[in-house]
Symmetry: D2
Subunit: 380 residues, 4 copies
Amino acid sequence: MKKLNVGLIGYGFMGRTHSNAFRKVNNFFDLPYQPVLKAICGRDENNAKAFAQKWGYESVETDWRKLIERADIDLIDIATPNDTHAEIAIAAARAGKMILCEKPLSMDGKQGEKMVKEIEKARVPNMVWYNYRRVPAVTLAKQLIDEGRLGRIFHYRAKFLQDWTISKDLPQGGAGLWRLDVKSAGSGVTGDLLAHCIDTAIWLNGSIGSVTAMTETFIKERKHNLTGKVEKVGIDDACAFLARFENGSLATFESTRYARGHKALYTFEINGENASIAWDLHDLHRLQYFDHRDEGKLRGWRSIHITDSDHPYMKHWWVPGLQIGYEHTFIHQVADFLAGLGAKKPMHPDFRDALETQYVCDAVLKSAKTGKWEKVPKSK
Amino acid sequence: MKKLNVGLIGYGFMGRTHSNAFRKVNNFFDLPYQPVLKAICGRDENNAKAFAQKWGYESVETDWRKLIERADIDLIDIATPNDTHAEIAIAAARAGKMILCEKPLSMDGKQGEKMVKEIEKARVPNMVWYNYRRVPAVTLAKQLIDEGRLGRIFHYRAKFLQDWTISKDLPQGGAGLWRLDVKSAGSGVTGDLLAHCIDTAIWLNGSIGSVTAMTETFIKERKHNLTGKVEKVGIDDACAFLARFENGSLATFESTRYARGHKALYTFEINGENASIAWDLHDLHRLQYFDHRDEGKLRGWRSIHITDSDHPYMKHWWVPGLQIGYEHTFIHQVADFLAGLGAKKPMHPDFRDALETQYVCDAVLKSAKTGKWEKVPKSK
Amino acid sequence: MKKLNVGLIGYGFMGRTHSNAFRKVNNFFDLPYQPVLKAICGRDENNAKAFAQKWGYESVETDWRKLIERADIDLIDIATPNDTHAEIAIAAARAGKMILCEKPLSMDGKQGEKMVKEIEKARVPNMVWYNYRRVPAVTLAKQLIDEGRLGRIFHYRAKFLQDWTISKDLPQGGAGLWRLDVKSAGSGVTGDLLAHCIDTAIWLNGSIGSVTAMTETFIKERKHNLTGKVEKVGIDDACAFLARFENGSLATFESTRYARGHKALYTFEINGENASIAWDLHDLHRLQYFDHRDEGKLRGWRSIHITDSDHPYMKHWWVPGLQIGYEHTFIHQVADFLAGLGAKKPMHPDFRDALETQYVCDAVLKSAKTGKWEKVPKSK
Amino acid sequence: MKKLNVGLIGYGFMGRTHSNAFRKVNNFFDLPYQPVLKAICGRDENNAKAFAQKWGYESVETDWRKLIERADIDLIDIATPNDTHAEIAIAAARAGKMILCEKPLSMDGKQGEKMVKEIEKARVPNMVWYNYRRVPAVTLAKQLIDEGRLGRIFHYRAKFLQDWTISKDLPQGGAGLWRLDVKSAGSGVTGDLLAHCIDTAIWLNGSIGSVTAMTETFIKERKHNLTGKVEKVGIDDACAFLARFENGSLATFESTRYARGHKALYTFEINGENASIAWDLHDLHRLQYFDHRDEGKLRGWRSIHITDSDHPYMKHWWVPGLQIGYEHTFIHQVADFLAGLGAKKPMHPDFRDALETQYVCDAVLKSAKTGKWEKVPKSK
């Protein structure tokens, strides 16, 4: 088993999920590589040191450029706010490092194109952390679709509903709140939540041709934690759009942080000629499945408890009936990345896949301004 | 279509469910007979008259003996408290009337035996209102079992949970409360609720061989509405028992009126070698079904919405997706009774079937006293 | 109790639901009026006679104009295909009859305006059968909103999903299939299903300001049962739209007959600042309710079993835990109509209310063509 | 942070869950101790070495006596079959080691008494791995009960249903199958599954006074993997019992490995005068809660998604809406053990607590033979 030296940039929420994945993956999966937690990089040295101690990182950096220059680092893992992805990723690619980048890839499609260009030129292994593809139930959905079980697809619908920003007193910006600051985040729920929905949708149902959208900012002004002033809110609090996929199916997408009662309710449903599938992040270990070919009087939605050894990834965990959770999706992604590295196979979603999601986000935000249907640009 | 003149005794809750069934059945089912609401009989003349007007009964009686004597009555429907069933039923049988009798059949097995003897001697068509057999989902469960889909049965479990008697201030006895008065009711939850569970269980899974039980009366004294005094409570507030069916399967049964949060939660589940079934009165239009013969990775409990035309009784109602409710079980029973009458076929559950349930109740109550396993007497 | 003579036009599915309501309402509600099933009118005399016998109609007509002329008819109930509503309703209004009209009111807003004009001129009591307002759970939702429990509304979402037209072999038009024939139906799912969603939405959340929509016809040609030829399908098989309500909330609406696994899944959810509500026609006797003011660690969606006597309409039915079904919504509407008649109070939804829904449907269908946001015309 | 050197005995399923807990606990909890994976002990040296490599154990032993003798070991973790617990635990106690022992504590109460005597004499910190107490939803249930929210308790019911031994071809005994071999396991579902139910029940609802039980072995003979012969099956495949708690509440308990469709469905429900609680291992991140003090028309079972920072243990994990799984219960137990060690506070469930569960199991198995109610012996 070869060692793979990881340099992580960012010690926030995503820094924890990634670190946990690197630490655990070899306990559960037989892989050709073993990640080594070589260095953690963050601007605040004390925080970085505390994080290093908690997770077992061997060293600390406060300047990501230095980290990238280090010869003992094989892989750069980007877990910083959206506005920093491009610069770091391009530098890492030029330095010949493998790259794992948090989603969304970039601030917009244009920036994403530059990143893809550089990374493909550098030919470094790369992946974007659209982790929900690797919820076992979602992976099983993909298998079922690829096996042709659904037949012609008529409908796709996805939602990502939260309720954590309803209070007017919540500030925008600052530690843990950069997602509310348009300068750091680029957009609101579109890049943060809908990007997940779009990534899954394209993976499961193919490219999206065109969209019509609306966005809303319910609380127009909030105190900005960094400036201390009440400022105009620049992000979208809610976004919904209609879409037509290239396979002829129709879709609705919706995301908001103002859906009282829902914490992280990412749901999708796909209706095919012969069968339908539904899934829900709040009970992520279940897949709902309806098969019209079942005997008539016994047709019903099956609630499949995705904990059996013949379910994706599950033979690596416990025994039937015993569920895994959110953090395991990151472990699965690392496992697939390392397996792909060993097999010299492409790994997905890569930067180019993530760029397609970025294009859809761009078209959505554009349509919300023009009030018209907008075509989604094609990745070249 | 022949007319069938009905004389109903009792204008309480069950009087309403039966009347509704007689009035509606021909609107939805093609049948050889049409019930005519000929007479309602109740001790309070004003109440009886009001009931007659509301439901369209042609006449009123205040003495059930007179009703039975009337030549223009074909069928006596007994919807009175438990302690009156035997006397009325035996008189009706001797008068050659058809009989529909509310459940439980009798105060105990001994009394039930007399009733069966008389009714079988009189050879009058008869049925007992164990209405839950005719919830379409329950009828479908019966079909699936009869088709052999479950294979060898290992387990049966049933519960009937309510919470309406938790308050200490609730009186026992009096209008609408005779179920709490041991003199009228014979027993508490055993005869009222477990009798339903037992009837369904025997129908679905065959005879029960032996039982061990416990009962409890949580509130020991209550004001008696009829006497005005605080008196000892004679009924069982809760009863649970273990059972062994003659087919070798094991069972648990439980009933209570002290299960906070449950109004009328009658549930049963049956586990077979190949498949399992579960049902729940609070969502009576659904059947839960698990089939181990489904493809491994797609096995799951199916929630079948029992509203299709190939589901029992449902072609008579609306269209798929549109549910029926509690009252329809009585309509189905009348429909089956009238169809059976036309076809000269036996109808179930008849008095003899209900006697078997009575025997189980007796064994349960006996075991609760002896603390031992008790055999269920055999119907001769 | 006064008699109210009913003349029903149409003996199809809706003829049955209405007849059942007229027949049962006085058994369960104390009302100043009693409907009398005076006459059924249908073009096929044999069918009409059979229907009359099944439901107890005193007479049969084959020409609706004759029915309207009859002096012994107080109320005309229109249960015919959409393209006939206007002519019948206008004639009935001119004849001074009360009118109950199936939904949708009309083929489009323009036709609806004429109807409203005539009926308001005639000052006859009138109502449109948007029955889902009177599902007890939905009525409770209305109460909760009117009591201000939700606070500022952010989101509304509704769907009506079916799957009964997926087969290519299903013909369009003919008996029971007029909903697939654009000449009879005016539109597809928009008028048939979304009209229900829109009526409820306006009732619960106020007027809709503007919409952007898409429609699709998945099966382009079907055999027409009346002509015997394969013809272009004129209706919309699926329709989805985004909307902005006048209260500032955002909405998504979707309807289709191609959602495999769903029979009649009408669902809505409304998210307010303080509380959220969700409902689902497949379990119509439940209301989902989330209240943020509940103690933090105990917050959760409550599944309320709407069968208690303090729930809307439920004291008229059975006891807690025992559910009612689809048909009861029509009974409730008749009960409210008759009570309103006695109290000389306006009853809703009336023709004017239904016109507002028609305007939304028009805007939706227009936007599906123009690809732009369309304003909803105001009712004058 | 002090180091705590762990010596684990047993590299099977439980060896994995414990190792994962030791490895992860300090990443998520701030604790006074850090477990060090010092040694793994197993009879098969190759397997032990492979396990050591996978999990990072520093050394390997094949004789547990040697492990206990090692001066560099602070804590012995027993993850071996039931028949070995007593000997190992007693030796470890005598050697002054802290002990974590898999459940059930012992083969029977008598053996358990000896273990308790020795461990209490040695005064070594000890705990038994009844991990389900530390599912956050279960811990919250305990809090709610301790806060007096339920009022007087009327009912407790628990089930643990599995279906993995239905096939006749499954052998008894051998690697991974010792739970089917009565010599290794002591009993079947009683010690394996009901022991969990009993531990939780005593913790939540106090001591059990008496029980009446039945057991069954559905498949009477199976091939024994170790001997290669078809032998009589000695374990109970299914066990159900009625119980009376000392607080006056009634209970039903059931466990089986023959409930088709259920993988590891551990459920419990507790009904109090004012509120009820229900929980289910298949959706372990939810707690069902009903509070009668809620406003009447809005009463319903709340489905609480236990992922908020004010839920037990959850502030250590992710953000609201993101669920954890089975393995986290072990991490919580280690966290509580280490915190207790630092605070010099007793930790539960300890050996004495586990002995009480053992006594209930004994009474259950005795009653299944005698057919009578059996009193549960008191721990001295």
